[in-house]
Every structure is written in structure tokens, then in C-alpha cells.
Symmetry: C2
Subunit: 308 residues, 2 copies
């Protein structure tokens, strides 16, 4: 039996069952199930890991519950500035965009950067210009409007509150979606997409679009997509750290993921989690926060959808 | 005797003695010597590694011979879009900016991001806005104007040539400056700054401002600043790769640097080099191109300034 595997996440953070209504919980679980299905069915029919990861992330981007694509949070200037990165593990090709607005699926634009340009990372207006040239689908501002997100921003806009008051928006910080996949040819891929932080300023870029920090894939080791306090994940080079522990210290996927999330990143103050899959189809989804929206399905068909 | 060490680079690439005039060679060597002196004197008087690395990079940024700060190449739109990153190895703090225009010393802005913001990476207009708030020194467009750089760009502007014809501007691609330092307190630091690629489009970002790719420092292992084909250095997570080989496989600085530059990065097609210093004061400056502008001075006072 071909060892296919898929794992996805919809962000980690202060997600407490006591603060979640049954209706919302059902919506989140259904959103994760949908995305998982789209990616897994592609793998099952012999499709590539990179395409499966992209399909799953597109599904999460199209769902306004998650902070990416349609559900992106508001920046300090009232727009949506989105980041995404995709990487494949066979030849270590990667593509990424940061600070883009109006792009329906930033992960698709990242894939185009990987496939159709000589570059890895394009930013802001330039990335949008490249998207236009590639006929990447755009949407007007109201497509990205969501009342809940607007209220989140409206409460703190015009202030520096995102900098001063961690607790009130801790959960916002971790809004990211991602997918990691192993296909029937033994290829690994990882994809991550985010709308960033509510009320973010200064065109801040987090870990999501950074190869090695928020996203990494290598057929020799694993595929990783992170969600967490981006600045710490950049400084910890988290996604590549997992891969290095496997390659250089012969850690298992599980050991490497636990070591990075429960020890190495915590030591410098980082909160969050990650999803990872290795070349044998093993899946690991550790987090050091109260919860992480996550789901996975392995080659035996074992499905797992959880929040807390 | 306190083990202080400093190494700097001014970029790697197709630098051939046969194509270099004596006058130009002297200018390059003098520029490297100046920068080395500024950083080393600071270390010698008990100053910090981070300050020494920043001082050396500022000196190279102020020299129009090198592609960073004043000597930055022209982007496709006729402006200068600069990237920089700085990191210290004690607490793994880092700051970086990408796509900034009009900032006299991008490395100083990166330092301000590290010291005065909660972020690691700020981009374009937002980074400039933060710089303004921090009273970071700016210069008008003509400060960055250099006839040689303008002619480089003028030959290919309006074309996609940077994408189609590697050989004609191979050396442009590698224009970067950097410094790595060990201070008398045993702290390491790394700094990198660049004007990017001539005629670059789409707000492309290379490896220089990316923690783990172009720049990395960790007191447990080493400080690294890279110069090379940025896209490959991002995919290879080069700077952190050196650190991981030391931490996880007990490689010496020399072994780790050689393995990464002569083997691992070459395997995926990457050209370039790096400078690195470890906690014992050892220095390594490998490159897989024809030349790399480089200089170093160790705790014994041994000075080394070379090009080819």
C-alpha cells in the first residue's frame, strides 16, 4: 500500500473549550474536514504532495473562519496584507509572497512564484504585479470583509495596542493555516498561508512566508508548516530545525517535533505549534498553547480532527 | 588575552584578476581595510560584537564600491531597494528590513527593528515609516546615484534580461556586504546588507534579510553572513545550516563552512560564499566562485585582506 499522508492546521493559540460555542466548534471542525478531504482525495487518486498541500490550504483560505485568504485579519491601515509559502521536498524548490492584497489565494501565487519565476520570495506591489501577469485570481476588498475580523480591528485601531497588550489578542497572533503532505511517489510538500496580526504595522512580515522558519520540506527528512508567535519562529528557524534534528541527529519525526516545540522554541519564549509529516508517512502535530485547529489522515485511512 | 575576532565581506562572484585594474583593486582593498579597522578597533576597546558588526557594515554601506547603502544597484523601476539583517548570538535577538529606499544605513534600521520594536522583519514603506519614527538617517535619491551602477542598469532596463542572461550580470547578483564578530565577552553577532540584483523586479527579496538564510548568530556555535545567489541560499537555509552542523554533528567551524559552501549548497546549484566566526575566535571565509571581497583580523592581530 502506498504511504500517503496529509496533515493540516488552522492556527494555534489561546483556544479554550469554555469560550467556544457548540455552533462555532462545529463550523471549525467542518472547515477542517473539508480541507482535509480535498487534499487527501487528491493524494489518494495518485496526485502530488505539492498539489494536495496547495488544495488543502486553498480550502482553508476560502473559509472566513481562518486567518488567511478570505478570513484575513485587518492591518493597521484597514487593509489585508497576506503572506504565503510553498515548498516541495524533492528538489527543494520553493515559492513565497508577503504583504500582498487582493489576491484570492495567496498560496496559489506562491506556487506560481515557485513554478514560473526565478525567484523564491516576492513582496507587496511587486508580487501583485507578478500575479497579474500570471492571471492569478484577484478579489475586491469586500470579498475579504468579515464582520468579526472588522470588530477585532475596530477595537484597537489607531492604537499601538497590538504591541502593548498581549493577552487581549494573543489568539489573533497565531492565525495561520497550513498543510503538509506525502504522496504515493514518496515526495513531501509543505504550504503555509496567513493574514498576519490584527492591527499590524510597518509592513511586518512573520515566519509563514520564510523558508526554514514557517515552512520547509525535504524528501530526506520531513515537511513542516508552523503557526505561532512569528518573530520567535523566525529567530528559532523552527521548520528547518525539525528537519536538521532528523537529518543530523537521527531523531524520529516525533522526537524532533516535540524537542523543537516543547523545548527549543519555548526556551526563547515562542508559543505555537506545527504540523509535520515524514517520508514514512508518520504525522506529528505538537503545540505548546491551549489549542491548535488541526486534522490529519494517514495511509491507513485513520482520520483525526481536533481543536484543544 | 581576550579572543576577539572580526571578518567582513563585500560580495562574491565572477571577480577575476585579469579583469581588475590596479587602481580598482587598490580601492577595493582600501575599502575593506577601512571597514575592518572600524569594527576591530571597537572590539579591541572592549566594545560589543553587535556594534562592531554594525560599524563595519555601515562603513561598507557608505562606500559606493559595494552593493549596499550608497553603492546599491538600480531596481527595474530605477530606484534602490535595500535589504539588511542583524542578529546577536546571546539571546538570539534579530532585526531586519527589506525593500527600503532612502535609508542611509539599512543595517542601522535593522538594528533599530531589533532593539526598539517587537518585530524581526519589517518591509518597504512600513519599514521606512518605522525608520522615520526612530529618526533613522535618510538621504535623497542622488546620494545613492552612482554612474557605474546606473550604466549597469541602463544596459538592461526595460528588459527581462536579469532573468534571461545570467552570465552578463552574474557578478551583480552577488553584491552584498557583511560582517561577523566575536567580542571580549564571548558574544557573537552577524550583519548583512545589500542593494540586491540590478534590474530586479516584483519587489524580490533575497537571502540577506532572512534570519537563517543570509544571516545567523548563536553563541553556542557561530556567527555567519552570506553572499551568493540569494534564491539558492534561501532554499538551503545556509547560515543556519552551518550552525546546525556545528551544534548537531560537532563539526568544527571550518568543516561546517566547507561542507555547506563546497557541497550542500552546490548540490542545489548555489554559487557564493560566506564569512563565519565561532566562539573560540576561529574564522572561516569559504566561497565557490572566482572571488570574494573579504578581510579578517583575529585576536592575535593577524590581518588578512583578499579578493581572489
Amino acid at each position: 500500500m502506498k504511504k500517503i499522508s496529509l496533515a493540516i492546521h488552522g492556527g494555534a493559540g489561546t483556544i479554550l473549550k469554555s469560550e467556544m460555542s457548540d455552533t462555532m466548534e462545529k463550523k471549525y471542525l467542518a472547515g477542517l474536514k473539508d480541507a482535509l478531504k480535498q487534499g487527501y482525495n487528491h493524494l489518494k487518486s495518485g496526485g502530488s504532495a505539492i498539489e494536495a498541500a496547495q488544495l488543502a490550504v486553498c480550502s482553508l483560505e476560502d473559509n472566513s473562519l481562518f486567518n488567511a485568504g478570505k478570513g484575513s485579519v485587518f492591518s493597521s491601515n484597514g487593509t489585508h496584507q497576506m503572506d504565503a509559502c510553498i515548498m516541495e521536498g524533492e528538489k527543494l524548490n520553493a515559492g513565497a509572497v508577503c504583504g500582498v492584497s487582493g489576491i484570492k489565494n495567496p498560496i496559489t501565487l506562491a506556487r506560481l512564484v515557485m513554478d514560473k519565476s526565478e525567484h523564491v520570495l516576492l513582496s507587496s506591489k511587486g508580487a501583485e504585479e507578478f500575479g497579474k501577469l500570471m492571471k492569478c485570481k484577484t478579489e475586491p476588498a469586500d470579498y475579504f470583509y468579515d464582520e468579526f475580523r472588522f470588530k477585532q480591528w475596530d477595537r484597537i485601531k489607531g492604537s499601538d495596542q497590538f504591541q502593548l497588550d498581549h493577552s487581549s489578542k494573543k489568539s489573533d497572533k497565531f492565525g495561520t493555516v497550513g498543510a503538509v503532505a506525502l504522496d504515493s511517489n514518496g515526495n513531501l510538500a509543505a504550504a503555509t498561508s496567513t493574514g498576519g496580526m490584527t492591527n499590524k504595522k510597518y509592513d511586518r512580515i512573520g515566519d509563514s512566508p520564510i523558508v526554514g522558519a514557517g515552512t520547509y520540506a525535504n524528501n530526506k527528512t520531513c515537511a513542516v508548516s508552523c503557526t505561532g508567535s512569528g518573530e520567535y519562529f523566525i529567530r528559532g528557524v523552527v521548520a528547518y530545525d525539525v528537519s536538521c534534528l532528523m537529518e543530523m541527529k537521527n531523531y524520529s519525526l516525533q522526537q524532533a517535533c516535540e524537542e523543537v516545540i516543547q523545548n527549543r522554541i519555548k526556551k526563547i519564549g515562542g508559543d505555537g505549534g506545527l504540523i509535520a509529516v515524514d517520508k514514512k508517512g508518520n504525522i506529528s502535530m505538537p503545540f505548546n498553547t491551549e489549542g491548535m485547529y488541526r486534522a490529519s489522515k494517514d495511509y491507513l485511512g485513520n482520520e483525526n480532527i481536533e481543536i484543544y
